[in-house]
């Protein structure tokens, strides 16, 4: 009698090779991300060492040439956040509204068209948004900014000290707000589509209007995921470079006046000042890049944790 064939769950040699190869590429992405942070830190070290890390994070100016260099990212970081917050305030309601329209109101055929159009908006190059923002959006928004500053100046953010309304954080923020619509919209749409059908139909059967369904079924279900999508939008807005660089004109004053000229984000500032400022300037820019990298990394990771938890196991 012949012995039965031994069945093992061991991988074949060629499979072990394949698995190791594929796994090493996977690990490679992790190594790459770590390397980005490590090299930026290494090369920007002269800038941090000059006056210390705390000084780099709290100084507002950016003078890297001459005998008394003084530089830091405080103002840049502040304006990055301001522009990103304006973008979120403008972009998120529009994106969520669009997602609601697609998932709740639009006829089936229009739905597909809208999804395609929003995907198209996502691939429009940011330099094109920058051009459009500078030559078309800005002239049309300046009047509105003046209007806000004249009639709502009792709200601190709407007050101004100068009467130059172009190249402001507000205009850059509105432009970036339009740019983050696709990403926020696609996440929001996915979350809305996962809202439990039974509860939806139950509410409708009880005579609820669509607004009531949205308020009492869709929104409570989607709240957490929406918070994640907002953070995702915030992360994108923080990293937006070229469009902001075309709009803003850098200044290093931290002020609440978002409607007047001035203020530049870290990313835009790097793009505008790259190659100027000498050895120390280059290190300082890399340091600013490192701060941006860490900041967006934290925001994006937080966002992905929240989104994944709320989409919940649907994506393994």
């Amino acid at each position: 009698m012949s012995t039965p064939r031994v069945v093992t769950t061991d991988h074949l040699f060629e499979d072990r090779l394949y698995r190791a190869g594929v796994k090493s590429v996977g690990i490679g992405t992790f190594v790459l991300l770590v390397a980005i942070g490590a090299f930026l830190l290494l090369k920007s070290w002269p800038a941090f060492a000059r006056h210390g890390v705390i000084s780099f994070l709290t100084t507002t100016g950016f003078t890297t040439l001459g005998h008394h260099p003084s530089f830091g990212v405080a103002a840049l970081l502040y304006w990055s956040v301001v522009i990103a917050v304006v973008a979120v305030v403008v972009g998120v309601p529009v994106a969520v509204g669009t997602a609601l329209f697609i998932s709740e109101f639009a006829p089936r055929r229009l739905r597909a068209v809208l999804v395609t159009l929003i995907d198209m908006l996502a691939v429009v190059p940011s330099v094109i948004f920058g051009l459009w923002g500078f030559y078309m959006l800005q002239p049309n928004l300046v009047g509105f900014a003046r209007f806000l500053s004249v009639h709502l100046s009792f709200i601190p953010v709407f007050s101004v000290h100068s009467s130059v309304y172009s190249s402001s954080a507000f205009i850059a923020g509105v432009l970036v707000g339009i740019m983050i619509v696709p990403i926020v919209c696609s996440v929001a749409r996915e979350i809305f589509s996962l809202a439990p059908l039974g509860e939806r139909e139950g509410a409708l059967a009880l005579g609820a209007t669509k607004a009531t369904v949205i308020r009492s079924v869709v929104m409570p279900f989607a709240r957490r995921g929406l918070a994640g999508s907002v953070m995702l939008g915030l992360g994108r807005a923080l990293g937006e470079t070229v469009a902001v660089a075309i709009i803003v004109s850098p200044s290093f004053i931290i002020s609440p006046h978002i409607l007047q000229q001035g203020g530049a984000s870290i990313a835009a500032f790097i793009a505008l000042r790259f190659g100027t400022g000498g050895q120390l300037g280059s290190a300082a820019l890399l340091g600013a890049g490192l701060v941006l990298f860490v900041f967006t990394l934290v925001v994006n990771l937080g966002a992905s944790v929240i989104v994944n938890r709320s989409v919940g196991g649907r994506r393994a």
């Binding site: 060629e14 090779l17 394949y18 190869g21 594929v22 590429v25 996977g26 690990i27 490679g28 992405t29 992790f30 390397a35 980005i36 090369k43 529009v94 994106a95 969520v96 509204g97 669009t98 329209f101 709740e104 109101f105 639009a106 159009l117 908006l121 691939v123 429009v124 190059p125 940011s126 094109i128 920058g130 051009l131 459009w132 959006l137 049309n140 928004l141 300046v142 009047g143 509105f144 003046r146 004249v150 009639h151 409708l204 209007t209 669509k210 607004a211 009531t212 949205i214 937006e240 470079t241 070229v242 990313a267 793009a271 890399l286 890049g289 941006l292 990298f293 967006t296 994006n300 990771l301």
Partner: protein, 385 residues
């Protein structure tokens, strides 16, 4: 015997017999829109448009189209709510306002896209010609009109840089997706998190990383290839995320069938999973490429730009379309700004072609790409079957 078989059901007395016939069950429509609704809508729009015109434009000096539209829509919502509440009650009014808000948001997004494209076409089309596409900017002086010179060097540069970036980033991205979806292990969660984090990586940071490693550390110099590497970092996470989604849709039974036939795991992925998902992967690649073609930020710090044609991405500074647009639009010469507009239009056309291709592929049935690539073999299979 036969008399016992009586259609009893029709004879049994029903509830409500003799009274008015019960109302036929009609499907409740949740989106009817009557003539009255249309009138209310039109009336509210007209009222808000004129009110804002008088109050804001004439009395408080609002200026600019954007402000007018924003104020009109805000006033419209208020009027629309009041009118609907008066006619149909509070609940219906809230419903209408929510629907109006959502519709306005969607219309706003579409309008923004249309405005961007229309504005670009209107400002860029008149320079686009054969000479503009085939000449470079070498030796073109400030004083010459915009029609002098062209952007061939930027087009060639962009194509080469993005092509090389795809050659590097796309396979890495697909393999990472294969790892996440087919191989897995303890570090799957970590790698997925890293990929997610990288997809949100600011483009300028990707460029700075390549600048630090290649240009300051290895003294490689500003070259097209440095830009390619930066773009590859941008392509990878995009491709991975989309490809992983596509691979996860491949039916489990296909993998099991392949395993049952004794195929090793790599064979299963290579000959079964990837061919099945091929259209989806091609779509993922095309979308990933379309995203990075227009990235200027990583190129600012890696390729430097050059007015002359440089077809060799491995030597000397190169130009790229998005970088050309970014650099020339900041010029003080009107002709340069016109060139930037037209180059931008060419760039958008390029992105649109890639996007369209991606759409076509995503609409294809699985396997179509393989048939297109290997027509003869497929015909042989058909003859056999």
């Amino acid at each position: 015997m036969s008399s016992t078989v009586v259609p009893a059901a029709t004879e049994t007395p029903r509830l409500g017999e003799g009274g008015p016939t019960p109302r036929a069950l009609r499907r409740r429509s949740v989106r009817h829109f009557t003539a009255t609704d249309a009138l209310v809508l039109a009336g509210s729009l007209g009222a808000s448009a004129s009110l804002v015109w008088v109050v804001f434009y004439q009395l408080t000096f609002l200026a600019g189209a954007a402000g007018y539209v924003v104020c009109t829509l805000a006033v419209f919502l208020a009027i629309y709510y009041v009118a609907n509440r008066h006619l149909f009650g509070r609940m219906a009014a809230a419903d209408r306002v929510v629907a109006a808000l959502a519709t306005m948001a969607a219309a706003g997004v579409v309008t923004a896209l249309a405005l961007v494209v229309a504005w670009l076409v209107a400002h860029g089309y008149h320079l686009v010609s054969v000479t503009f596409l085939t000449r470079d900017q070498k030796g073109v002086l400030n004083t010459q009109p915009a029609s002098a010179g062209g952007i061939s060097h930027a087009i060639v540069g962009s194509l080469e840089e993005v092509g090389l970036a795809t050659l590097i980033g796309a396979p890495a991205g697909v393999v990472t997706a294969v790892f996440l979806s087919e191989v897995g292990g303890r570090i799957t969660g970590l790698v997925r998190t890293v990929v997610t984090a990288m997809s949100g990586l600011p483009p300028i940071v990707a460029g700075l990383f390549i600048y630090v490693v290649l240009i300051t550390e290895l003294h490689y110099g500003f070259r097209g290839f440095a830009g390619s590497l930066a773009l590859a970092i941008m392509i990878l996470p995009n491709v991975t995320r989309t490809t992983e989604e596509v691979l996860s849709v491949v039916h489990e039974s296909l993998r099991e069938a392949s395993m049952a036939l004794g195929a090793p795991a790599w064979r299963t992925v290579w000959s079964v999973v990837i061919p099945t998902a091929r259209t989806g992967i091609v779509t993922a690649l095309l979308l990933g490429i379309a995203r990075v073609v227009g990235e200027a930020a990583p190129l600012i710090v890696t390729i430097f730009g050059s007015p002359a044609m440089n077809a060799n991405p491995f030597s000397g500074p190169q130009e790229a379309l998005p970088l050309f647009v970014f650099d020339y639009r900041s010029s003080s010469v009107a002709a340069d700004i016109e060139r930037a507009f037209s180059a931008g239009l060419v760039l958008v056309a390029l992105v649109a072609v890639l996007f369209l291709l991606a759409r076509i592929f995503s609409a294809m049935k699985p396997g179509t790409v393989g048939r297109l690539l290997r027509p003869s073999r497929h015909r042989r299979q058909e003859a056999l079957s």
